[in-house]
Amino acid sequence: MNEARLVTPAMVALWLVLASVPLWVERAGLHEYLGVEILIWSIFALAFNLLLGTAGLISFGHGAYFGVGAYALGLAQFNLSGNLWICLGTAILAAGLAGVLVGLFISHRRGIYYAFMTIAFGQIFWTVAIKAYRITGGEDGLLKIARPPADFGFAAFDLGDNVALYYFVLAVFAVVVVALWRLVHSPFGRVLAAIRQSETRAAHLGYPVWRYKLAAFIISAAVSGLAGALFAMAQRSAFPDVMAVNQSGLIVMMTLVGGGLVSFWGPVIGVVLFLVSRDVIGALTFSWMLYFGLVFMAVVLFKPEGIAGLAQDWMKRWRR
């Protein structure tokens, strides 16, 4: 049974496909940096979907934690240490702490009030990033963020090249996938899924619901921060725009279109579709977002379970 496995055949197949991307991506007319972006946004989307798909909690301000991770990596590099692991650890910690701060305020809320509170806090983080010029560089952002080498003690790998960075991010992606897969299928993940279906019933079974919601929010924020840190490395800078409400909306859209509500892999499907559409349709027309928006509307209207839901329906029919 796949749920009991730490590594599933689907994961191995996906990693093998992803490992081959640098070999053919340019021949397909795409840039290898797109692969880096897809992996980073996939980490972000999987973290986001721990809240949306597993716990049923919608955050419209999740870009804030992605941004906190990006800034924390840059600031740690400038002020603390140039060591990659220290910088990534600082980013995870900073985003996790931001998650604690916000989670304490919102975890007693549910439904629309929960969602609105996430927007409000997201806007606070975004405003701070713009206004705290001396720390964040304001709208100019943090520039000249380096890509420190990945030093494993016995060997160090230079990440200056996009292909090297791609394989490093792929390794991080693999670790995140395994960790979140296990978490979602653990007792903790089961309780989150129970809370999604009925907070009231979960509470009357003896579960302190708000503590589970808080823990889920902190983990989701911390992993989003890791994605943000990798993004800062990838673009060698950190800007406030990733914390803006429209950016937070994009991750919601990608996750829903992909099918995060019914599948662990839904967010990854959504990210691939979104970013490849951006590059392919975006090369043809500036209004590519219009077409993606139409896809989003079609999904909401006709198949709220998204592409993964559609695939599951086909699989069921095929098995009959």
Binding site: M1, E3, A4, R5, R182, L183, H185, S186, P187, F188, G189, R190, V191, A193, A194, Q197, S198, T200, R201, A203, H204, L205, G206, Y207, P208, V209, Y212, A215
Partner: protein
């Protein structure tokens, strides 16, 4: 018999509306205590106070001498109070087995375990299956709760409550929506489990309640207006004069 539940002067008001007014009610250990009364009398509100969903404006609730007043629902559940709901509340996407498993105290103590897979735990699955067998749902363990017929969902709700290993089981209109066959099956199920539990049941189905209950309290206008054994209630002047008398 010693009292397991003691409600003393429980008073609840929502805004300017008094819903419960100085309710005094005792339930003895091992007793099946029925609560009856017309719609809007305050029966479910009393359950909500007992299980922590509503905090009383005044008064106290004790379980085995321990004060439960003002505790959150999860704290009261952990002290051994399980409940069913008037509007059935299950984890609809979970299978029957997963619904029961999630309610087991052994599962609850591992609630923050993020390192082990649930699917690999046979002991929990077997414990859940045994409870499903007890309520006649052994053959339905792998079926999603939302796909079960209404009567089986009611039985599953009781299995979920039993899985909590409660000291007190609160049933809020358990026969609601059931046909005569379903009621008969539920009656037999409650008869089987009552020997090892204290049960408090709100019920409109008077045949059901009068054939099972050791004692019954009648709540009306937010007050206990009559109480006693089914036989005593049948002789109670107030009950005879009221609309409820036609059932008693």
């Amino acid at each position: 018999m010693a009292s397991l539940i003691e409600a003393q002067g429980v008073h609840v008001r929502f805004g300017d509306r008094v819903v419960l007014e100085a309710i005094d009610l005792e339930v003895a250990e091992g007793e099946l205590h029925g609560i009856m009364g017309p719609n809007g009398a305050g029966k479910t509100t009393f359950f909500n106070v007992l299980t922590g969903r509503v905090k009383p404006s005044r008064g106290r609730i004790r379980l085995g001498g321990e004060d439960l007043t003002g505790l959150a629902p999860h704290q009261i559940a952990r002290k051994g109070v399980a409940r069913s709901f008037q509007i059935m509340t299950l984890f609809d996407e979970f299978t029957a087995r997963d619904n029961v498993m999630t309610a087991l105290p052994a599962f609850r103590t591992r609630g923050f375990d993020m390192r082990h897979a649930v699917a690999g735990d046979r002991a929990l699955a077997e414990e859940a299956d045994a409870l499903l067998a007890e309520v006649g749902l052994a053959h339905r363990s792998a079926v999603a709760a939302k796909q079960l017929p209404y009567g089986e969902r009611r039985a599953l709700e009781i299995a979920v409550a039993l899985a909590q290993r409660p000291r007190v089981l609160c049933l809020d209109e358990p026969t609601s929506g059931l046909g005569s066959d379903g009621k008969q099956r539920l009656l037999e199920l409650v008869r089987r489990i009552r020997a090892r539990l204290t049960i408090v049941a709100i019920e409109h189905e008077m045949d059901f309640l009068f054939s099972l209950a050791d004692r019954i309290s009648v709540i009306h206008w937010g007050q206990v207006v009559a109480r006693g054994t089914p036989r005593e209630l049948q002789a109670n002047e107030w009950v005879r004069r009221s609309n409820l008398g036609r059932f008693a």
